[in-house]
């Protein structure tokens, strides 16, 4: 049985791993093939800083909060093993800063040690009068995507365009996770990559007028520190703008004066595949004589890494449902892993 996964970012590869883990023992003929126009290190997931943190509010979308929790717990479970370094996974603490009090987020009990900032801590951040401290996780795409790939030894092939599925003669179950299927307008984020190894905390400021990630942030990774905070609406261009880089630089230096001495080693911009909510559902597609079952798993915006494993497991459950319907499984799949 041939299954195509379209998209090789964190969503595509983790969906592949989850399907593989749950079903390769039950369906001996299962062959997973990943198709994408970009593979690591050129995907959106590679450019993301990799901090596990959902948006401030889940807008009542409890399903997404549950997927976030499943992801965090899954990753935290890997922290006891030496594999965490290879996965690009590590603990990190840090600050979320506001100019006025805000309600606690949906994820306050998912992360570790969530608390409000003390007055003394707020002295570090003039202009901000309220904030949170918590310990979360970093999952760096540049390490995680290769680790996912190695974990299942999946076949890879490049494709020019996502419409190829109709030409491939697949059995019936492509799993789609490609950002380019999103037709909602998106934001164009810019980030600078600097050497600032003395920074050990993430710092994310919030300007409630400007919206998420449109305010300076500093996220220290294992090789460099990401500075960001520009978020332009509805721009599909991936060209970097010098003016935007200077503006990130200035606002981050105001936040952390020592950054003035940091050396810039790179820059990146990418499209976060934004959507009002994640699309994770089945669709039957018919094109002429060809019929296919599609599992959509896209639209994870700026929280793909944060939510990926919960979504992968949900996609795997949908896969299991399809197999059962097609009587590929004698018994229903066991409890989700």
């Amino acid at each position: 049985m041939r299954v195509a996964i379209i998209g090789a970012g964190v969503i595509g590869l983790s969906s592949a791993l989850c399907v593989h883990e749950q079903f390769h023992g039950l369906v001996p003929s299962l062959e997973l093939e990943v198709y994408a126009d970009r593979f690591t290190p050129h995907t959106t997931s590679d450019g993301a800083a990799g901090l596990w943190q959902p948006y401030l509010s889940d807008h009542g979308n409890l399903q997404e909060t549950l997927w976030n929790k499943e992801t965090f717990d899954y990753l935290l479970g890997h922290m006891h093993s030496a594999a965490s370094k290879e996965m690009g996974l590590f603990l990190i603490s840090g600050y979320n800063l506001f100019t006025e009090p805000v309600p606690d987020p949906s994820w306050k009990n998912i992360v570790l040690g969530f608390r409000n900032l003390t007055p003394k801590e707020l002295e570090l951040f003039p202009g901000y009068s309220y904030g949170w401290f918590n310990t979360a996780l970093m999952l760096e795409g540049r390490s995680y995507l290769p680790w996912l790939t190695n974990s299942i030894g999946i076949l890879e092939a490049a494709s020019e365009h996502f419409w190829l599925w109709k030409n491939l003669g697949f059995d019936f179950i492509p799993v789609i996770s490609n950002a380019e299927l999103v037709f909602c307008s998106d934001f164009l984020p810019f980030t600078s990559q600097v050497l600032a190894p003395w920074v050990k905390h993430f710092i994310i400021t919030h300007s409630l007028n400007s919206g998420i990630y449109n305010s300076p942030y500093v996220i220290p990774g294992s090789e460099f520190t990401v500075l960001g905070g520009i978020y332009q609406h509805g721009n599909w261009s991936e060209e970097n703008s010098a003016k935007d880089h200077k503006s990130i630089w200035d606002s981050c230096c105001q936040l952390l004066p020592a950054l003035q001495k940091a050396k810039i080693v790179g820059e990146w911009s990418g499209l976060r595949p934004a959507r009002p909510s994640v699309r994770l559902e089945r669709e039957s597609i018919r094109l002429g004589n060809l019929q296919g079952e599609v599992i959509h798993n896209y639209g994870h915006g700026g929280f793909g890494i944060t939510i990926h494993w919960g979504c992968a497991m949900a996609a795997a459950r949908l896969f299991g449902n399809i197999l059962q319907e097609k009587k590929q499984l004698a018994t229903p799949p066991g409890p989700r892993l």
Binding site: L76, M79, H80, S81, A82, S84, K85, E86, G88, F90, L91, I92, S93, L112, G113, R115, L117, T118, K120, E121, E123, L124, F133, T135, M138, A196, P197, W198, V199, K200, H201, P220, S222, E223, P257, A258, Q260, K261, A262
Partner: protein
């Protein structure tokens, strides 16, 4: 006395910070630093430089707390300035974990560090052998950067540095008006202080840049302290051992203990092994002593015996020592004007 000549003996964190305080409180002083070793070869260079106080049994707690608070406040301001990276000062958060609940759940310094609280059950799950823990944010002074930054500030203030082995404090009496003894373990020999004893510490410094949090076992023996470029893994507390040679068995033991707290350290690279002798004492000696021979007096201000807590209290004891130097200067000026009458 127009320009009192002050010799500070010792160029570790205590000597350099004391010299700097003297230049600040007594701008008319001519300050020199004399030491047989400078960074990167001092005991301070081996230490991780974490601001987590050591409790001295015979120093009153309020005094220790005052020293720590002054030090924390001073470094906090630097960490928040443009000089932070050059000075090697940065904030770091983490956990102190205990296999059994300590008698004192709230140490005297809990309200000086940032965000001090007990660890949650969820956090303790990561440490199955430990039953209790504390989470907080504190400061770290990376060496050599911090010592080099102090040296730079001293040179800008006109302080002279001399590589010189001082065998006897009295040998300085003809060149200097006041001597400040910041010789750490050297005071055992130099002033014959038998209350001073070494506590040998071996540490590993590794490249593990994904480690952003500190973890310390409350027993003080096992710790993981992420610095700017390297993570310090420790350690040992061998009372009375004078050996400065790294021990291979100890290296393996430290590495194993740290990996059990943080398994990802298995992937650490480029290990360096270092040894330092903590200059330990029941109480830190910050005190004036006037040496005299044949009618000639030499005021000495002692500032040594900081043991495992040198970085945590350095600025506080430097302030106190500088204050004592000021008193010595007043006394000398008083007696010299009496001599004129």
């Amino acid at each position: 006395m127009a320009s009192p000549k002050v010799a500070v003996v010792g160029a570790g964190v205590i000597g350099l910070s004391t010299a700097l305080c003297i230049t600040e409180t007594c701008p008319s002083c001519s300050v020199s630093v004399l030491s047989d070793q400078f960074s990167p070869n001092t005991t301070s260079d081996v230490a991780a430089g974490m601001l987590i106080p050591h409790t001295y049994p015979d120093t009153p707690i309020h005094r220790q707390k005052q020293w720590f608070k002054e030090t924390f406040t001073y470094l906090f301001a630097i960490s928040n300035s443009a000089e932070a990276s050059e000075a090697g000062i940065h904030l770091v958060s983490g956990w102190q974990v205990f296999k059994s609940t300590p008698k004192e759940e709230l140490p005297f310094w809990s309200d000086v560090v940032l965000g001090f609280r007990a660890m949650s059950e969820a956090e303790l799950l990561k440490f199955p052998q430990h039953r209790f823990g504390q989470a907080f944010t504190t400061l770290k002074c990376d060496c050599p950067p911090y010592l080099l930054w102090l040296e730079k500030r001293l040179k800008a203030a006109g302080t002279q540095m001399y590589t010189r082995k001082v065998a006897d404090l009295w040998e300085l009496h003809s060149e200097y008006d006041i001597v400040v003894n910041c010789t750490g373990m050297g005071a055992h020999q130099l002033v014959g202080d038998k209350q001073l004893f070494p506590v040998r510490g071996q540490v590993l410094k590794v490249h593990a840049p994904w480690v952003k949090q500190f973890i310390r076992d409350g027993d003080g023996l096992t710790y993981i302290y992420p610095g700017i470029h390297r993570v310090t893994l420790g350690g040992t507390r061998e009372k009375g051992s004078w050996s400065l040679s790294p021990d291979a068995g100890t290296t393996r033991d430290i590495f194993d203990r740290c990996c059990s707290l943080e398994p990802s350290l298995q992937g650490a690279q480029d290990m360096e092994v270092k040894v330092g002798l903590r200059p330990s004492r029941q109480c830190v000696r910050v005190q004036t002593e006037v040496l005299s021979q044949g009618g000639v007096k030499l005021p000495v201000v002692h500032n040594y015996g900081h043991g495992a807590g040198g970085f945590s209290v350095h600025r506080g004891t430097a302030n106190e020592a500088a204050h004592l130097v000021g008193e010595c200067i007043s006394a000398l000026q008083g007696s010299s004007s009496r001599a004129k009458l």
